[in-house]
């Protein structure tokens, strides 16, 4: 019998009870320039497990923000809080706020469905629907409704081109998406997310299930996408964070230890633990 803790009442924004390891909990990660999203004293609990501890962080507009840290540090949990995917997890509880522009996405009146159209997500493992490639990419549009066939075709092509997949699949749009290779599937998932024109794209270790060549392609893709989209990417791969991102945050046991421009965090980390992680002493 699964343990199902009670669901917290909405709006109870009590402060997290800080443990001895949460010395940095008051750390407020600021950036220069335009802020697309930001979290304010964000806490996530799974039952009695305090997974994200009081994280305040700003995500810059039209740049790539990487979140890294060892396994179980809470980086994926943090990312999922940004488009309220935790609503799906029984027993998960979120306190604090997440702002998209000026709007608190955890506000009681927020339309979660609309929010998720604005904040897209790509998952760790490619998860295409067991349908055709075309249907996969056009799924978001169908769900929204109001597009005619030609608009839909146009958007599908555009999204597949953006995801650098068009040339590979243009002749077999009606074949099952499950027949694609892992890397192609992941780019399909990206195309699928792009088709609804999100403002922010969240990527949860998008390359962890892929081989190096496919990984490279995705990274190139991210490089291009940042012209248009705000991207937050979770990775446990240091090199990847260094290659693709402009800002990097380092998480440890649910705390945001350090957040800074990527070059800075890799060349002169402020915190000893960050340095230990980057130099490979743990993690």
């Amino acid at each position: 019998m699964a343990l199902q803790p009670e669901i917290a009442r909405e709006g109870s924004r009590e402060r997290a009870i800080l443990g001895p390891d949460t010395v940095n909990s008051q750390y407020i990660a600021r950036i220069d320039g335009a802020v697309k999203m930001k979290t304010v004293e964000l806490n996530v609990y799974y039952g009695s497990n305090h997974a994200i501890k009081n994280v305040s962080l700003e995500i810059p507009e039209k740049q790539v923000t990487a979140l890294m840290g060892p396994s179980g540090c809470g980086k994926s949990t943090f990312l999922r809080a940004l488009n309220r995917m935790h609503d799906l997890t029984p027993g998960a509880r979120v306190t604090g706020s997440v702002l998209l522009g000026d709007e608190d996405i955890y506000a009681p009146k927020e339309d979660v469905v609309h929010l998720r159209q604005r904040v897209g997500m790509v998952f760790q493992r490619p998860n295409p629907f067991p349908r055709s490639i075309f249907e996969n990419v056009s799924y978001g549009l169908r769900v929204q409704g109001g597009y005619n066939a030609s608009q839909m075709r146009e958007t599908v092509e555009q999204s597949l081109r953006s995801a650098a997949l068009w040339d590979e699949v243009k002749d077999r749009l009606n074949q099952s998406a499950l027949g694609l290779s892992g890397g192609q599937q992941q780019r399909l998932c990206i195309a699928r997310a792009l088709a609804v024109s999100p403002e922010v794209l969240l990527m949860d270790e998008p390359c962890s299930a892929l081989d190096p060549i496919a990984t490279l392609k995705i990274e190139e893709l991210i490089e291009q996408l940042k012209q248009q989209y705000t991207i937050a990417i979770v990775t446990h791969n240091l090199q990847q964070a260094a290659r693709v991102s402009q800002y990097t945050g380092f998480f440890l046991t649910g705390n945001l230890i350090e957040y800074a421009p990527t070059q800075q965090i890799f060349s002169r980390p402020q915190d000893q633990r960050t340095e230990d992680f980057i130099t490979g002493r743990f993690g």
Binding site: M85, L115, G120, P128, Q144, V196
Partner: protein
């Protein structure tokens, strides 16, 4: 032909001749293959210790063989000893064995009608219930629905029959006469039987559908929701299509159970073997419901009084064999459908839950579902 004869004269010689022949005449290749197959790479000591387990497996196969051969061996006497022609049996419309008439057409039609009716009523409700349990229900409701399903599956068939007479038959009669006006229909017939059967096969279809939905990767739900789909859009556009093979398996096995159900149907269907369940007319309401009968009901009612050696007795075995063939085909179909699913149900078993017949059907289903369900983490939705 009795069972012993069938075994000693057909089955055993066939197996001995095939295997022995291949071993002796097939040369070293076959010899090695057979030896390899029998030993499976285990050492001699290990093989000897394995015997009790292998014996159990053999008994299971034997049980099926005995049933099939026994029913099959007796089924043909209608044609061989009583000289009823195959065509007369399957196209004859009159079932009056005491007069030498054994036409099973209306029985087969009755079985199909009742079954289709039950499945058509039951499937949408079952799938909705499965969706409710996997996607909508909070954990407490999910845990609450499991015993509810099992109790539905556990209520004895005879109790369903009695409940049907007392509650469903008057309801059907009342509704029909309210709609049509004149008192035309007694309430006994395929509608009442189909309604009660629908409830009886509901746990089967529901629990297999629950398994199919729960087997879908959580990623599918997340991907759909992350694209801004509502829960209903996710269910309709992604989850139901993706689990359709599993759900269809459930429907087929539910069909199997409906086909084999006896007692409840016997109480409710009116069991008139010489009627079509529905007769079309030229006057309003353009059809007339009639008491009809099904294969199982006729077997059940005739067996009590049929004298062994009589045409009636032989015809019962022929009917049984027809029923056996139908359920055999349904099982084969369910295996085929299950094998084509994109996402296999729970563990590596080749197909979903099994069962069809009386209480056994759902019994297996629900129990097995319960076992697997308890072995799985609660599905997130």
């Amino acid at each position: 032909m009795n069972l012993l004869q069938i075994f000693t004269e057909i089955v055993v010689p066939l197996v001995v001749i095939t295997v022995g022949g291949l071993y002796l005449l097939g040369g070293p290749t076959w010899r090695q293959r057979i030896r390899q197959y029998l030993t499976m790479g285990y050492s001699r000591a290990e093989l000897i210790r394995m015997i009790p387990f292998a014996l159990c497996a053999v008994i299971v196969i034997l049980a099926l063989l005995v049933v099939v051969l026994f029913v099959g061996g007796n089924a043909f006497q209608t044609f061989t000893r009583d000289h009823v022609s195959l065509i007369a049996f399957f196209t004859g419309k009159v079932w009056y064995p005491d007069n030498g008439q054994v036409g099973a057409l209306y029985l087969i039609v009755g079985t199909l009608t009742v079954t289709v009716l039950a499945v058509v009523i039951s499937t949408p409700i079952s799938v909705a219930l499965a969706v409710f349990v996997t996607e909508v229900a909070p954990p407490w409701a999910r845990q609450f629905m499991q015993p509810v399903l099992e109790l539905f599956a556990g209520i004895p068939s005879i109790v369903y029959g009695l409940l049907g007479i007392e509650l469903v038959v008057p309801l059907v009669s009342y509704a029909y006469n309210y709609l049509v006006g004149a008192f035309l229909y007694a309430g006994f017939g395929v509608i009442a039987a189909g309604l009660v059967l629908a409830i009886m096969i509901l746990p089967t279809i529901t629990s297999i559908s629950i398994d199919a939905l729960a087997a879908l990767p959580q990623g599918l739900r997340e991907a759909s929701l992350a694209l801004g789909a509502t829960r209903w859009q996710t269910i309709r556009r992604t989850l139901l299509p993706a689990s359709s093979s599993g759900i269809f398996t459930g429907v087929i096995l539910g069909t199997g159970r409906a086909v084999g159900e006896t007692l409840a149907v016997a109480f409710l269907v009116g069991s008139n073997p010489n009627n079509l369940p529905i007769q079309f007319t030229n006057t309003f309401p353009y059809f007339n419901l009639q008491p009809a009968s099904t294969i199982t009901v006729q077997i059940f009612e005739d067996f009590k009084e049929a004298t062994p050696g009589s045409l009636n007795f032989d015809a019962i075995w022929t009917l049984s064999f027809v029923l056996l063939l139908i359920s055999f085909l349904l099982v084969a179909a369910s295996r085929y459908v299950a094998s084509r699913g994109a996402y296999k149900a729970t563990n590596q078993r080749p197909s979903g839950r099994r069962r069809s017949s009386e209480t056994g059907v759902a019994s297996s289903t629900a129990a097995a579902a319960a076992v697997t369900a308890s072995a799985l983490p609660a599905s997130n939705s």
